[in-house]
Structure formats: C-alpha cells, structure tokens
Symmetry: C2
Amino acid sequence: MTGVSCPLPIGAYDHVVLGHGSGGRLSADLVERLFVPTLGLDRNAPLEDQATVTLDGGARIAITTDSFVVSPIFFPGGDIGRLAIDGTVNDLAVGGADPRWIAAAFVLEEGLPFADLQRIVASMREACREAEVRLVTGDTKVVERGKGDGIFITTTGVGTVPAGRSLSIAAARPGDRILVSGSLGDHGVAILSVREGIALETELKSDVAPVIGLVRALLAAAPGTRAMRDPTRGGLASATNELAVASNIGVRLVERALPIRDEVRAACEIWGLEPLHLASEGRVMAIVPPQEADRALAAMRAHPLGRDAAIVGECTAEHSGIVSLVSRAGGERIVAMLAGEPLPRIC
Amino acid sequence: MTGVSCPLPIGAYDHVVLGHGSGGRLSADLVERLFVPTLGLDRNAPLEDQATVTLDGGARIAITTDSFVVSPIFFPGGDIGRLAIDGTVNDLAVGGADPRWIAAAFVLEEGLPFADLQRIVASMREACREAEVRLVTGDTKVVERGKGDGIFITTTGVGTVPAGRSLSIAAARPGDRILVSGSLGDHGVAILSVREGIALETELKSDVAPVIGLVRALLAAAPGTRAMRDPTRGGLASATNELAVASNIGVRLVERALPIRDEVRAACEIWGLEPLHLASEGRVMAIVPPQEADRALAAMRAHPLGRDAAIVGECTAEHSGIVSLVSRAGGERIVAMLAGEPLPRIC
C-alpha cells in the first residue's frame, strides 16, 4: 500500500501489481479503467493490437508497439532480441498489414555484458532479415544497477495496409470457424522451464517465429478471413475472450481439437496452469467464414509453421461475450481470461 | 566485471556503464562499435534522430523512437509523461516532419501508485493536445519490484514529411550560422536540483515544451535552413559535435552569445558541470545559411518559446570535425562531447 489516495481503485488495488502486465483480466481493467478514461479514448472502439491511420493521400499505414521484458533474456528457441522483432512483426501481420520498418529502443541496466548485448542485437538482425523488415532507427538508455533487469527492448513496427484490406476482431459472425496455426503454449512452458530450473523430459523450445509468410498464404486461400490474432500474453483464452466481446458473439472451443503438446500438458499439470492461458509467439488464431475454413486449414498446413494447424472452435449467436470449452467428456465450461499472473514476464 | 569474454571491448569496458546512456562520447561509441557493425548498418550514413522512409506511392513518413527513464518522474515544469510526448514530437519536428501519431509503451514497476500513473497519463494527453498529435496505440508491461524504477515510457512518433523538405545534419556548409531558440540547460539543472535535494535561489523549471510551432515559424522565415536538432542528452556540445562530423565542417561557438540563465551558470559552478553538456527539452538548434540568419532569428524571437533566441556561432571550413568556443576573454578552446555521465537519467 502506498499511502497515496487513489482516484481509481482497480479491483482491490490502488497500485500496479504483476497481474496488470498479464494480458488477462487485470491488464484489460487497467486499460479500460485508467488509460481509456484518462486519455479520453472511445470506450466502444475495439482495442486492436495495432492502429491503422490514413495519410493525406489516402494510403494507410499500421503502427504497433510493444515493450519486451522477458526473463530470462535467453531461452530455448530464442532470446529477447528475436522476440522483440517477431512479436512486433506478428502484430502487424495478424492485423493484415505488410510489416516494413522497425524502431527499437533499449533500456539497459548498468553491468549488462557487451557479449550479451551483441548476441541479442545479432539475433534482431537475423529476425529482421527473415521477416523482410528494416530496422531504421533506435535509442539506448542506461539505468543504474538494480533499477532495471539487464535489458528491456521496445520495438515499434510500421507497415503498409493493402488497399481494400479490412480485418477486425469486431468482425466475427456466428458460424465463423476459429483456427489456430499450431501447438499452443510452447513459448510459455519453454520460459517457465528455464526460469524454474526444471528439465522436461524433452527440451521444449519456444515457438517464436515470424508469421508473415503463413498469414499471406492464409489470406490468399481464405480472402474472407474476418480477423487474426497472435495468442501471446494471456494465450488463446484472452484472444478469444477479446473476440467474443468485440464481435458480440459467443465462442465455443472444442478441447479435443486443440493442438497442445504432451510436454505442455504435463507442465500444466505439474504447475497447475491452464494451457489456454499460456503464450505462443509464433502462432496465429484466425477467424474464417465457414465456407472458407477448409481452404484456410489446408493453406496453414501447407506452410512449415502451420503443420499442426487445426479448426478448434466456432463463433455462436448465443452466449454473446462468453467463451466456452467442450471437454473431452462432453461437458461445457466457461473459459475465463487469466485473472492473476502465474507467469510474469513471458514476453 | 562480468567474467564474460567480450568480443567488443568499448574503451575500457566490456559491459554497459551509465555513460553509455549519456548521449556523449560513450553513447556514440556504443552505436558505432556495437550496434552499427552487428546490425550491418552503413557506417558512413549520418545518424539522424529520426528515419525517413518512402511509401510505394512516393509519400514520405518519418519515424523516431525514444525510451524515457528520467528520475525523478515528477520535476519542476513537467513529468515523464510530458517529456515522453514532447521529446518524440520534437525529434520529428527538428527533422522537418509534421508529427502526427504516437505509440506509447509502458514498463511499470510493481507497486507504482495508480495516482502517479494517472497523473502521468493525463500529462501525456495534455501534451498530445498541445502538439496536435494523436496517441494511437500502446502497450503495458509490469516487472517485479526492484527490476525497474516506477515507470519507463517508450514513445515512437510517426510523421509526414512535406514534399521537397530535406534537412540533414550532413548538409551544413562553411559560413552557415548556428542559432539556438532559448536558454540552454534549464531541463538538466531542474532535474539535478530535485534529485540532489538542493534548492536554488529561484526555482528553475524544465524548459520541456513542444517546438513544432517554433519550427514551423522558423522554416517559413528561413526556407534554406540546413538542419535542426533539439539539444537534449549531451546538450549543445553533442549536437554541434555530431554536426561537425556529419557535415565535415568546423563549428565555432561564441561564449558571450550563449543564452544561459544565471541559475544554470551558478549550478554548473557548484556541481562542476559544463553548461554545453546540459540537456534542454524545449529548445531548437538550427543551422541556417548566412543570408537567412537574421530572418530566422527574428522568427524565433517572435515565438513565445523563442524570446531568448540567439545566433551563437558559425560553421567554418577549417578544423573540420571540431567544435571550438571563443571565450569571453577572447581565447579559444575545444568543446568535446560529454565523456562520462555526471547527470544520468536526464530524460
């Protein structure tokens, strides 16, 4: 408790807790109850992961920004540098934009070895090459020991939006199918296994990857696609809950259709986690009209990053704003957004 | 020392020190010796504070990013929120772009009072309104207590570049005049006085302000303007040194022409600081061809933010790459970039 009288108690809190960075319920509260009113934003506009703005000549560009504070900074399958590029490229891609330019701002903690910084920057270069984006400007600040944590990277991506392209998480309709491009939660469990120092039977790697190629293949095969999201912080649970609220529909997921690796299931049982809350960093959730769903699935599966793609559920007219899961046993339960923060600093 | 063998010793260091965030010599070293080679950038391209990119249709946009880690987060004349908006708006403005859109990413430390966050966000809203820019997207992450410092904000600005506009710190020529729009170092001393808990005789406020209006007036009066910079981290010394190197010219400053407040001079004497190294956050350095210098000065002085504007020096053919200062006594000495970091976390 801070002793400061807070004009905006959010839930039980008058100060920031880890859960406000979870991508779950508390993150949404912070946005809705502090940022939206204080900035005077439109409470009813859907919150997309990117903003699309129109230049005077009519061309549209998309802008997205993310700070990366993942801990540890090196993990199986990647590091904070790759995550910072792919995460931002993917936000643009799933919004329907062509990622073009990246700005990167570094907050370094005094004492960070140059060898680590060089390895991270080299990883960013490689990730930019793969995603065909150009790092065009940057900034570096340094804070005293104990006032940061090695390195934080904020990447901002600017992309161009093709004429006629319009995707929005407010656009889903009853009957639309929900696809995911591959196994869920690999990134979350990879981070957790390193952080907790627990060796899994087989090493699970983060799925971090640029999804722009997969997204292009999907849009070519299923041009009626309503929306896409990358299920990062808060996992598929947050992505589908945001969809349900923004589109005023229900979402019904089917447990046996969810692509989840045995290692991830096992880790969730050990740590008491919900796989649907775990972050992926190289997966796409796509909302596709029913008549294009099979073509969309085939296009995803034909891509190296989409071999385990699956149709995992559908949008419904009933239970608007609610996400439910049909269990293997046939029961149905509500899938809530992440409430606390069992896995802080996943990205 | 870290125990890690570093492939890139920079000066005496194999790890990050506070000086690498100073905007001075060590900052430049880090960019030139780690970021440029690791990213495979062009070593000879001048480092502008913003990147200008061209869309397929030919329209140009400018992109700039900065992390703000100022300590304390509230200071006389402003706070980290205002600084984050004005700093980014000003980078675009001095590059010749019209600032339009802002993305803001927050790294919050667990325990930050909502009352502080709300005050900062309200300040950002007001700064956006003043500068006529729109905050279009954002992100919030949270780190554990002791892994951050209250709040860090990274703002990225996107602006449009008018057709035909071309400003570059590589464009200065011998004979060009160097103007500054107002008193130097107010921001630096305002921060220092709070941080050190020392009351000055009169409270000195930070000069933080959006310079877009002043810049427009200047460019209208002096369309031949070669380049502008906001002398923030590293002060006028860094800005002129970067100019001298990028343009292959010498810079001669005249001490008696420099607008420096008595309080700033006094503070510099007490703390052993060089006024030319101190940050301003609402000032413009402009390089103007000699025939337009008087009109440029008059335009600055006619603007509320430019009442103390002055012509403080000129570009010379001799001593290429070097900045010198003609003292009140008539002697001449070299003005080096800031070497260490007497004033960490000024922005």
